[in-house]
């Protein structure tokens, strides 16, 4: 009989790799906990069974746990979540999951933690503290368990790797350095997944803590330099920045400005601690077949450059929306189309335009207000209300929020209006004017546009701050890194 395994955080970076590896095997029957059903996967014959639920609400997955032999717990809050969310997801989430496992008779618990859980200096780093706390809960759970602590995990889709790629493209790369230079031991996600599979296959969970790292430790600085070399085909410059003061400053700003900050003081703990794996049997076993760190980096850089999605005539893939357009959404889009058409071309749309607009926004994933961020929702509402606020919101977004929902909706509408009668005339009418009249028109546009921008900024800048602060930094259950 196949081993029945329950995975949390399966949508995360390590989780995806693990599911890909385990799902096709006949030795396992896989259940994955997801917050939103991912389309198509459930229906796949032999694919993992998706359990739609929430880590913090055991009622949603209690039944699914029954009969499972092993739980692989990858879900965690990472990135720039608030201390409260770290506490909720990483500690509370682990606590309720353990309770549910015990109730359901699950025997084995594979807990994926992080090298940071063992950092000596965890100042400001709620993530590390909560992961350490979660480990304690696992140790005291009474379940058969293994704890795995990966170091720096790299892979094509690794968030850390992608940040690194961006940074190393810069001519000068900042390097935070504390009292002493630290070392890292980057490992490829495939190797982490290999390790996890090895554990799932193994007979007994002996309550070990296994740290997993790459082929060899190296100075953080050397790692950055290697990446820089691979990305830019030439060595770049590193700019040393003292760590202490920066951490202090970030920590002070954090309570108010976290949502706007590129990094948090806590995340800088990687520059204050070594992230290298203590020797253990699994590490030794995996290491035997790992590529060198240099190879690991060059392969990743090359993978980033190549892909097969470049083929084609440069169109964004239209995301096929599977949710039907509700009457409510339809009405909202109709009103929106009227308001925005009146704003753009000065006349009301006909029924054909309204219908096209509803369809086009729908297929381009722009139809449902509830999908939008707080800020996007505000810009769209502002634009719907009248011509003046529409232009103000548009002027702001045209300059400062160019990929936002309002901008996308307006581009969709413009594309329709320019191609259909009678509104195409607003774009294609053949006009001859004196040079002076034309310059006057241009100046007029410039002035109104400027005023609209001021108005838009006056309303939307405070909104932006408000949205950023109140963002219930969504309890993102992602895999631990």
């Amino acid at each position: 009989m196949p081993q029945s395994i329950f995975v949390t955080g399966a949508g995360g970076f390590i989780g995806q790799g693990l599911v890909r590896k385990l799902a096709p095997s006949a030795n396992y029957s896989l259940k994955v906990l997801t917050r939103r059903p991912r389309l198509g996967v459930t229906s796949q014959v032999g694919g993992p069974q998706e359990i739609t639920g929430d880590l913090l609400e055991p009622a949603t997955y209690r039944d699914a746990l029954r009969g499972c032999e092993t739980v692989v717990h990858l879900a965690a809050a990472t990135g720039r979540a608030t201390p409260k969310d770290y506490e909720r997801v990483n500690v509370e989430g682990t606590r309720v999951l353990i309770e549910a496992c015990k109730a359901a008779g699950v025997r084995r618990f594979l807990h994926v933690s992080t090298i940071a859980a063992g950092y000596a200096d965890q100042s400001y780093y709620s993530y590390a503290k909560t992961k350490a706390e979660a480990e304690r809960l696992v140790r005291e759970s009474g379940l058969e368990f293994v704890i795995v602590r990966p170091t720096l995990v790299l892979g094509e889709k690794s968030p850390i790797w992608n940040t690194l790629l961006k940074i190393t493209k810069l001519p000068v790369v900042p390097l935070f350095e504390g009292a002493r230079p630290v070392s890292v031991q980057p490992i490829h996600v495939d190797d982490v997944v290999r390790g996890l599979v090895r554990l799932v296959e193994s007979e007994s969970f002996k309550g070990e803590v296994l740290e997993l790292g790459g082929p060899r430790p190296l100075a953080f600085r050397a790692f950055l330099a290697l990446t820089q070399q691979a990305v830019r085909d030439k060595p770049g410059k590193l700019l040393r920045i003292p760590l202490g003061p920066v951490r202090l400053m970030l920590a002070a700003m954090e309570p108010i400005a976290r949502p706007l900050m590129p990094v948090t003081a806590g995340q800088l703990a990687v520059f204050a601690n070594d992230s290298i794996a203590a020797p253990n049997w699994l590490q030794t076993e995996l290491q035997a077949t790992m590529p060198s760190t240099e190879e690991l980096i060059t392969t990743l850089v090359d993978q980033g450059r190549s892909g097969d999605d470049g083929l084609g005539i440069g169109r964004e893939k239209v995301r096929r929306e599977t949710r039907p357009l509700t009457d409510q959404a339809q009405r909202t889009l109709q009103d929106e189309c009227r308001a925005l058409t009146t704003y753009l071309v000065g006349t009301a749309p006909n029924a054909y335009i309204e219908a096209q607009y509803a369809r086009a926004t729908h297929v381009h994933g722009l139809a449902f207000d509830e999908d939008f961020s707080c800020f996007d929702r505000t810009t769209v509402r502002l634009a719907r209300s009248n011509r003046i606020t529409a232009r103000a919101a548009d002027a702001y977004c045209g300059l400062l929020h160019r990929r936002g929902i309002l901008r996308r909706k307006l581009i969709v509408l413009t594309a329709i209006l320019e191609h259909v009668a009678p509104t195409y005339a607003a774009f294609d009418r053949v006009e001859t004017r004196s040079l002076a009249a034309m310059l006057l028109t241009l100046a007029g546009h410039g002035m109104v546009s400027g005023l609209s921008l001021l108005l838009g900024a006056a309303v939307l800048l405070p909104t932006k701050l408000y949205c950023a602060l109140t963002a219930r930094s969504a309890p993102r259950a992602r895999s631990a890194q």
């Binding site: 470049g310 753009l344 548009d394 002027a395 191609h419 774009f427 410039g446």
Partner: protein, 541 residues
């Protein structure tokens, strides 16, 4: 002789027509996606907007996929080609074709007529300097350029720029020039001496594969402004017209809807037969002939050769020397058109060309100038940092004066750039995927900067300044002039062909598309591909 040709693009059809006229038996295998019927053939461009039942569906696609939206994440925006839904069939890929890309983002076509079903018609003969790496000079090519010009119809004339285009027969009179183009040309005429001395650059009329006088069943251009969306009356040349002509020959057999997979090689190294798959049923067919001619376009032709070697020798080779023209798009504003109207009833593609002499004669930089007439506005509107209402106002005020200069740079074969198979990426049928790698030549940035500086000065002096900050270096692969992986060579080198395009590696194999170019001049290559295919059919068969 029985000749099996794969591919119905410009190379394939012109080879076939010559071979048919010489009474050879020609079988043409082709994926051959066919063009759907043309909507309202009598309407002009604005008429389409007024008269179509579903204009949004026609212009934007059934799923509105042609709306040009910014990607949600910065850095993910794709190169914009502006090709309309009515040309989608040209780029429709059959399932057996997959590619891995590194530094190269190509277009491929499996249409009846190939990529040139959506080309823009620029047809320029190469001169002796540009042919210096070829095993023959202009004289050998001239009659074939003339022959192709006679077949397809090329409008063009003699002017200051013509010194860059060696003379050949059968040019048609030039089309009417739009007002913006005419004003630019007049401004150039007035300052010709000074400008060409100062910049070593020239401006003149383009060479376009479009009829200014009717030819057979094809009408002459009636200035309807629909060129991009598909010419409704055959005035604008596409290879499917020649395919149609081939199909009137009794010694021609056209076999569409098949994917040629590989050539089965005998131990002697010669081809035994070609293996293809029926795209509906997947049934495998083997076909034999006296000679096999590949005209699938450089990428597909190379893929076929690579797969054949892989199948027979279990070996993955690298076909080096992949080339493409680097293109830079530089929008400019023709100030003399400010306040004037534009005429939507105009021929749409480039009517003027621009040439910059370079350090070496073969490094000539070739420019094409397209003035804005009928066009899709929203991609331009969305690029401005303004509210869309103001953008529309500004666009309307400037529209008639807007234009774009498309600079093309030559390319040469280098070891760093190649096509091969990627064993890590295997398709559903177990074949490793075609994989392309391209790195630009060292010093490319300086070359581009120098040409842009010349153009900036030149157009400024013409009263048509380039719009600052708007020049765009297109990613490699965008010019769609792929070539160089199986070059012509007088020596018997591995992975090359003879001067008559017979493979040095596989004896009964001929290759007649861009793969055989030993050098890629800046001027658009297709006219040369067609003439070369005619040359091969005329001289080797």
């Amino acid at each position: 002789m029985k000749i099996l040709v794969v591919g119905s693009g410009p190379s394939g059809v012109h080879f076939a027509l010559t071979a048919l006229r010489k009474n050879h038996q020609v079988v043409m295998l082709d994926v051959g996606r066919a063009r759907p019927a043309i909507a309202l053939p009598d309407a002009d461009f604005l008429g389409l907007k007024q008269q179509l039942d579903d204009p949004a569906g026609y212009f934007l696609g059934p799923d509105f996929e042609s709306i040009s939206l910014p990607a949600p994440e910065p850095g993910n925006d794709k190169e914009y080609y502006g090709l309309p839904p009515s040309k989608d069939y040209v780029f429709d890929r059959p399932e057996p074709f997959a590619m891995r890309l590194d530094g190269f983002s190509p277009l491929v076509s499996f249409a009846a007529g190939g990529l040139a079903e959506s080309w823009t018609g620029g047809s320029y003969p190469l001169n002796d300097d540009e042919l210096s790496a070829f095993p023959f000079g202009y004289e050998a090519m001239a009659p074939h350029y003339g022959e192709v010009a006679e077949r397809i119809g090329i409008a063009g004339g003699q002017d200051d720029l013509s010194v860059c285009f060696p003379p050949h027969d059968h040019l048609q009179p030039m089309l009417d020039l739009d007002e913006s183009g005419a004003r630019l040309l007049a401004a150039y005429e007035r300052r010709r001496e000074r400008l060409s001395a100062k910049y070593k650059a020239r401006l003149g009329r383009s060479r376009q594969a479009v009829l200014s006088t009717p030819k057979g069943s094809r009408q002459s251009c009636r200035y309807c402004g629909r060129c991009l969306w598909g010419c409704p009356n055959g005035a604008f040349y596409t290879p499917s017209l020649t395919l149609r002509e081939c199909r009137t020959y009794p010694n021609f057999e056209y076999v569409p809807n098949v994917f040629a997979s590989h050539l089965e090689l005998a131990p002697s190294g010669a081809i035994e037969h070609v293996v293809s798959y029926d795209l509906d049923g997947g049934a495998e067919t083997r076909r034999m002939a006296d000679a096999y001619v590949l005209a699938c376009g450089t990428l597909s032709t190379s893929n076929l050769v690579l797969r054949s070697i892989y199948r027979s020798r279990k070996e993955i080779v690298r076909l080096t020397g992949l080339m493409d023209n680097r293109q830079v798009l530089a929008p400019f504003c023709n100030l003399s058109m400010l306040g004037r109207s534009f005429n939507p009833r105009s021929y749409q593609y480039h009517q003027l060309a621009f040439g910059i002499e370079a350090s070496a004669p073969d490094r000539y930089v070739h420019g094409q100038i397209t003035t804005l007439k009928t066009a899709t506005a929203h991609p331009i509107l969305r690029s401005l940092p303004l509210d869309l209402k103001s953008s529309i106002g500004v666009f309307k005020a400037l529209r008639s004066s807007l234009a774009v200069l498309n600079l093309n740079f030559c390319d040469w074969r280098r070891e760093t750039n190649y096509l091969t198979l990627s064993p890590e990426h295997v398709d559903a049928h177990g074949w490793p995927a075609l994989s392309a790698r391209y790195r630009p030549p060292p010093g490319e940035n300086e070359t581009i900067r120098a040409a842009c500086a010349t153009a900036r000065g030149f157009f400024w002096d013409l009263g048509a300044p380039l719009i600052p900050g708007m020049a765009h270096v297109r990613p490699m692969g965008s010019s769609v002039h792929y070539s160089g992986t199986l070059p012509m060579s007088t020596e018997r080198r591995a992975w090359s062909v003879s001067p008559t395009c017979q493979s040095h590696d596989i004896e009964n194999l001929f290759i007649v598309d861009g793969s055989v170019m030993p050098f890629l001049p800046a001027k658009n290559l297709t006219f040369t591909l067609m003439a070369n295919a005619v040359r091969v059919a005329a001289t080797a068969f």
